[in-house]
């Protein structure tokens, strides 16, 4: 029954004498008050179904998303995509935590541990996979890792993967020296003041595990790892905090060696810089996903995810950001450029990459992130 019908019945009852004048006016007044109070919120709720908010890393990736996914999606569905950006996963999680349900919808998140963090905070949605037929093109191993976190269900679709390997200036460090020293070059006294590193506790501890000959997903001598982090700190010129800063430090030769993101280093190589890239044994592999936050309009989001997973979109985005897409190369022809990208696995099994175990890393998050904050500052 709509509101007009309700008011007509009320008026009828008043005219029939079933309601006295005072009660009738009271009910009309209460209805008016309720309408006035709910209207702004109702408008918001209506608007949510008319638009979907997507947050990502900006730059060429956003441009590719806009061209190949958002605009065709809007043309087909009439649903607008509001395109936002963030500087880092931690910063974005703080924004989501402070927001109202439904304010943020889809995010381009990094790492399975972020997926687990969102799930632990009660921010995970549940996707209806029937609405995302393009999910069949995705490498199964990438999907299964996420299912393991959310009891067989999915709150996201995998989108791309890459590595955090060793980047070095070939003018000053040879390929042979890199192969010989591997991750230990980051704590080599010979390069004091010319070493860099990401200001991220996970990466620091992962590489500390490699430098102390331990399994990054099951290290036992944590004290030795902190010593390695301290040694790296003492030799490093600077901790970088963004991909742009990483590229600037390497391109300007402020530093000669650092760990770096495979796609960013490929971009430097494309620009003509003589920067080498090497994934050491047990190098840091990671995947990114398109995560739907709880409280979002699910069907609209699922349809958008399907657009984004379409091979044409995925390949265009992958070529723009220099990270291989999550599409299975045995099922989809990925073109010419993608097979040349660092970390690309032509078999689609990803057997050569080591990913972070989310249980292990999230189990240490509170303690290690705090400890790194101190070690970073000289403690």
């Amino acid at each position: 029954m709509d509101n007009t019908r309700r008011y007509e019945r009320l008026l009828e009852r008043y005219r029939n004498g079933d309601l006295d004048r005072r009660k009738f006016l009271g009910l009309i007044g209460a209805a008016g008050l309720a309408y006035g109070v709910q209207t702004p919120f109702a408008r918001e709720a209506m608007a949510a179904t008319e638009q979907v908010r997507f947050d990502g890393w900006g730059g060429v990736v956003s441009e590719a998303f806009r061209k190949y996914a958002f605009d065709p999606y809007t043309a087909k569905t009439g649903i607008k995509v509001v395109d936002g950006t963030f500087g880092g996963g931690d910063e974005y999680l703080s924004r989501v935590k402070a927001s109202q349900p439904g304010e943020y919808n889809i995010a381009h998140l990094s790492g399975v541990f972020d997926y687990a963090r969102y799930n632990n905070l009660g921010l995970a949605s549940e996707l209806n996979e029937d609405n995302i037929p393009n999910l069949k093109f995705v490498i199964p191993k990438l999907v299964d890792v996420f299912r393991g976190v959310t009891n067989g269900k999915l709150s996201c679709v995998p989108y791309d993967y890459g590595t955090t390997g060793l980047a070095y200036n070939r003018k000053h460090i040879s390929d042979e020296e890199m192969k010989e020293k591997g991750a230990k070059i980051l704590i080599d006294d010979a390069y004091k003041g010319k070493i860099g590193g990401w200001a991220d506790w996970r990466t620091r501890m992962w590489y500390a595990a490699l430098q102390t000959d331990q399994d990054p997903n099951n290290a036992t001598d944590v004290d030795a790892m902190w010593d390695a982090v301290r040694k790296h700190r003492d030799l490093a010129l600077k901790y970088w905090t963004s991909g742009a800063e990483l590229m600037s430090l390497l391109a300007e030769e402020e530093i000669y060696v650092t760990e770096g993101w495979s796609g960013r280093i490929y971009a430097l190589q494309e620009q003509g810089h003589d920067i080498g890239y090497m994934d050491p044994p047990n190098g840091f592999g990671w995947q990114e996903c398109l995560f739907v936050i709880k409280g979002s309009p699910m069907e609209a989001c699922e349809e958008l995810l399907n657009f984004m997973l379409a091979p044409e979109t995925s390949i265009a985005v992958a070529e723009g950001q220099n990270y291989p897409p999550a599409l299975d190369p045995t099922k989809v022809d990925l073109g010419k450029k993608i097979p040349t990208l660092p970390a690309f696995d032509p078999t689609g099994t990803l057997a050569g990459l080591t990913f972070a175990n989310p249980d292990y890393w999230n189990g240490h998050e509170a303690e290690w992130s705090k400890m790194f904050g101190r070690v970073q500052k000289g403690y």
């Binding site: 703080s94 632990n120 300007e252 030769e253 509170a366 904050g373």
Partner: protein, 288 residues
């Protein structure tokens, strides 16, 4: 209602929009932060509502926070002194110049039109290994290897001075503008040299402006986190960086709240001391 009562109410009616804004935008958020500081962060990252002193105990007793706070105050103090030494002559020059005062003031305001972050990052292009300064020194043959000038405490102070110097100059300028120049003439007529008249007359009368500029520079310098992030090395963090890390990196909003209130309390105490001895009127003149 009597005329007296109506007149007594009028200022409050006029002030009510401002008081409402201050209450909603300052006091209420501060209250939220205060309440948050007594909560706890659980292992999953969620907040545990309650009344716990753990964050305060950690913030007040842990040597780590005390050391970083002291280092922050040291960097802010050095920055303030450098700003005073560089800013006073500039303000004096502008105040005593004839004709082109407006242009000089406009030039002083010019940096505010550019983003603070961009201004801070510009030092990378000046002091970097491939930066302007190294290129000039190398091309002149003065050095044969680029000098490593960036990412240390000195560059952090340099960046802060770059950011805060206009605040110091404006405050001192306002103070100098308010001094009657005939007082200096009177000192000359009584036999004082230019230097003596400056030391005995102008400087003492301009001290409130210097103090106001000093307070602004110190408070803004102590609260910054962008400059050490962009121009500092691994060990050059300031206290605001700890707040950022607690809130953003560690998702520990309760501890971040306690730390931010601690910094607020320290800087607030300094402002109260300033107000007790010099009053806020001079600061308002400078800001105006």
């Amino acid at each position: 209602m009597s005329v007296e009562r109506r007149e007594a109410r009028q200022p409050w009616i006029l002030l009510s929009p401002a008081l409402t804004a201050v209450t909603l935008l300052l006091f209420v958020p501060l209250l939220f932060i205060l309440v948050y500081s007594f909560w706890l962060r659980t292992a999953t990252g969620a907040d545990q509502v309650g009344f716990f002193f753990d964050n305060w105990q950690e913030a007040l007793t842990d040597r780590f926070y005390r050391d970083i706070l002291l280092n922050t105050l040291k960097i802010a103090a050095i920055t303030t002194i450098v700003c005073a030494l560089m800013g006073y002559p500039a303000a004096y020059f502008i105040a005593r110049s004839r004709g082109n005062k407006a242009i000089l003031l406009l030039l002083l305001m010019l940096p505010f039109w550019i983003s603070y972050i961009i201004r801070t990052m510009s030092w990378i292009n000046i002091l970097g290994v491939s930066g302007a300064l190294n290129s000039i020194l190398l091309s002149l043959g003065i050095i044969h290897q680029p000098l490593q000038m960036l990412y240390n405490e000195t560059t952090v102070i340099l960046g802060l001075v770059h950011f805060l110097l206009p605040f110091m100059i404006l405050n001192v300028f306002v103070s100098l503008e308010g001094i009657d120049v005939t007082l200096e003439d009177a000192a000359h007529s009584l036999g004082a040299t230019r230097w003596q008249s400056f030391l005995e007359v102008t400087l003492p009368l301009s001290l409130p402006g210097l103090a106001a500029g000093g307070l602004l520079c110190f408070v803004l310098g102590a609260g910054t986190y962008i400059t050490p992030l962009v121009l500092g090395g691994p060990r050059d963090a300031m206290f605001a960086n700890l707040v950022f890390e607690a809130v953003i990196t560690q998702l520990n909003w309760p501890l971040g709240s306690a730390l931010s209130l601690m910094l607020l309390a320290v800087l607030g105490t300094l402002v109260l001391i300033y107000n007790r001895y010099l009053g806020m009127a001079q600061l308002m003149k400078g800001l105006g």
